[in-house]
Amino acid sequence: MSSYLNISLSALLMASASIAFSAPGLAASKASIRQNADVDPRGQVLSLSCAGCHGTDGKSAGIIPSFYGKSPEYIESALRDFKAGERASTVMMRHAKGYTDDEIHLIAQYFGTVWGKNK
């Protein structure tokens, strides 16, 4: 990330020589702060599909269980148990088997980041 920022910055500085800035668009840039440093991009990509069944960010409106707000430790051990077949499931074992233990860790950490529960 830092190398990209450097480039943006130098590009901006170069351009600033010839262009006078006004400062609208603050709202837009403030919003983009949310999408920042501690979101692991691979963790994110691994996790986005869970919402197809569990609802956005794991917030389910139906009988499929919600996991919104649960600790990363809880999510990680649940996924590992499903994967190992140690916890009964209709479909979760078939899904959990698609991820390595490291990926399961990344998924759990990602959701922790989403609800700010990581240490």
Binding site: S29, N36, H54
Partner: protein, 430 residues
């Protein structure tokens, strides 16, 4: 690396004045520099609407425009439930109000008629031209009308609905089922692979039988299939035997399953083994990518769109991403779940690409639930990754509901199917 900011991006950024604000932030935060980039999404179905929502959710600074002609989108998922009498059309209709209000997506009710991939613009039927930095194309399918002799769009709209794009077609098929006499014959004629929702025709046969069993129990459902095998075949066969013995019959190519031509006047189809009459005839024609994909030159000889599986960027045109039914996604089936999963991968990739970063390795998922009876659900699941040959299913993952699943499990799957629908449409349209 500095080529990541092209001259065009540069000009545009300074023209919009966003760069000034971004500059001010560098001192205090690690916020990235994607503010104001324009992404246009074509099509507000499972793929397009999911992409638009997740683009804004993951990076609210983007300017996202969703072009979709229909004010109300009727989902194909659960349209078979409507035929079974288990849902109303209203319950499977989605709108774009929340995407506009809550996520700030510019929803434009229009149709894209042309894409200028050199200039980076799309032209709308209504005359407007929209510029983009990245374009997402999710137009779904079109039908190969001439594949079956005698079939046509006009015949689909009058006598032999496909009901494979939900809406008026679903209603027509439902109306015909309601009007049919007890003891009538329903013919369901699916196409060969690949096509949208591989288990769709068989779930349809099940839920039509569910309706008939209650209201017209002397009737029959015959599936005429050009394929030797079909999705979840063992599970469907078992379910039909248990719930609809004598009512549902599947005929493969050797048993006269291949439909060669249809006759709207006689309400009949012709196969290798001769003529067959139906009181209700559901023809599901072979398919290809939606029209705009052809107009824009995004398709290859197969009639579908080749893409880079990491970002879903077209391998034909730069800065254009094709997702959903229209794209070639390796081992993934053409489903709403798959389209939304692809849309999210594309959204995350686009955000990184706009910031000059490489997209990360994709992770893709699909699950298709099918309802065989009201308390009898089955599913097929898949988790996919990138291999040298493209998108492949991860060995050992996914698969079917066990063939010996208990009644309790089948009932749970039926309830989870219902919950899946509720959650996925909220994840995409709310």
């Amino acid at each position: 690396m500095s080529t990541n900011i092209s001259r065009r991006d540069f000009n545009r950024l300074f023209a919009t004045g966003v760069a000034g604000a971004a500059l001010g932030m560098f001192g205090t935060s690690g916020a990235a520099f994607a503010a104001g980039y324009r992404v246009v999404v074509i099509g507000g179905g499972f793929g397009g609407a999911a992409t638009a929502k997740y683009l804004k959710k993951l990076d609210p600074s983007l300017s996202v425009t969703l072009v979709e002609p229909k004010a109300a989108y009727v989902t194909c998922p659960f349209s078979n439930w409507v035929l079974g009498g288990l849902r109303t059309m209203k319950q499977i209709t989605q709108t774009y109000a929340t995407l506009a209000r809550r996520y700030g997506i510019h929803v434009v009710p229009d149709t894209v008629v042309g894409i200028d991939t050199e200039k980076g613009t799309v032209k709308l039927k209504g005359g407007r031209v929209l510029g983009y930095d990245r374009l997402v194309v999710s137009p779904g399918i079109d039908f190969k009308w001439s594949a079956i002799d005698g079939y046509s769009e006009a015949l689909a709209e009058s006598k032999m609905p496909h009901a494979y794009q939900a809406g008026p077609q679903t209603l027509l098929l439902q109306k015909q089922l309601h009007a049919m006499k007890n003891g009538g014959t329903v013919l369901i004629c699916p196409p060969g692979n690949p096509f949208r929702c591989p288990p769709g025709p068989y779930e349809r046969a099940s839920l039509i039988a569910y309706y008939l069993k209650q209201h017209k129990p002397k009737s029959r459902v015959i599936i005429l299939d050009p394929k030797d095998k079909f999705s979840k075949q063992g599970l469907f066969n078992k379910g039909w035997k248990r719930l609809y013995p004598e009512m549902v019959e599947w005929r493969g190519p050797a048993a006269g399953g291949k439909v060669l031509s249809v006759d709207g006047g006689a309400m009949s189809v012709r196969t290798d083994l001769g003529e067959l009459r139906g009181d209700v005839i559901n023809i599901i024609p072979p398919q290809k990518a939606g029209l705009i994909a052809f107009t824009a030159g995004l398709t290859d000889d197969s009639g579908w769109c080749p893409v880079n599986p990491t970002s879903f960027e077209s391998t034909i045109h730069k800065n254009v991403h094709v997702i959903g039914d229209a794209c070639k996604a390796g081992a993934m089936p053409k489903s709403g779940f798959a389209a939304s999963s692809q849309g999210k991968v594309a959204a995350a990739a686009i955000i990184r690409l706009l910031r000059g970063k490489e997209p990360v390795a994709p992770s893709l998922v699909n699950t298709c639930y099918s309802l065989i009876g009201k308390e009898y659900g089955v599913s097929v699941a898949g988790v996919y990754q990138l291999a040298p040959s493209g998108i492949v299913e991860i060995p050992g993952s996914g698969g079917l509901t066990p063939i010996d699943a208990s009644d309790d499990q089948l009932m749970q799957e039926a309830m989870f199917a219902e919950s899946w629908y509720t959650n996925i449409v909220r994840d995409i349209w709310a």
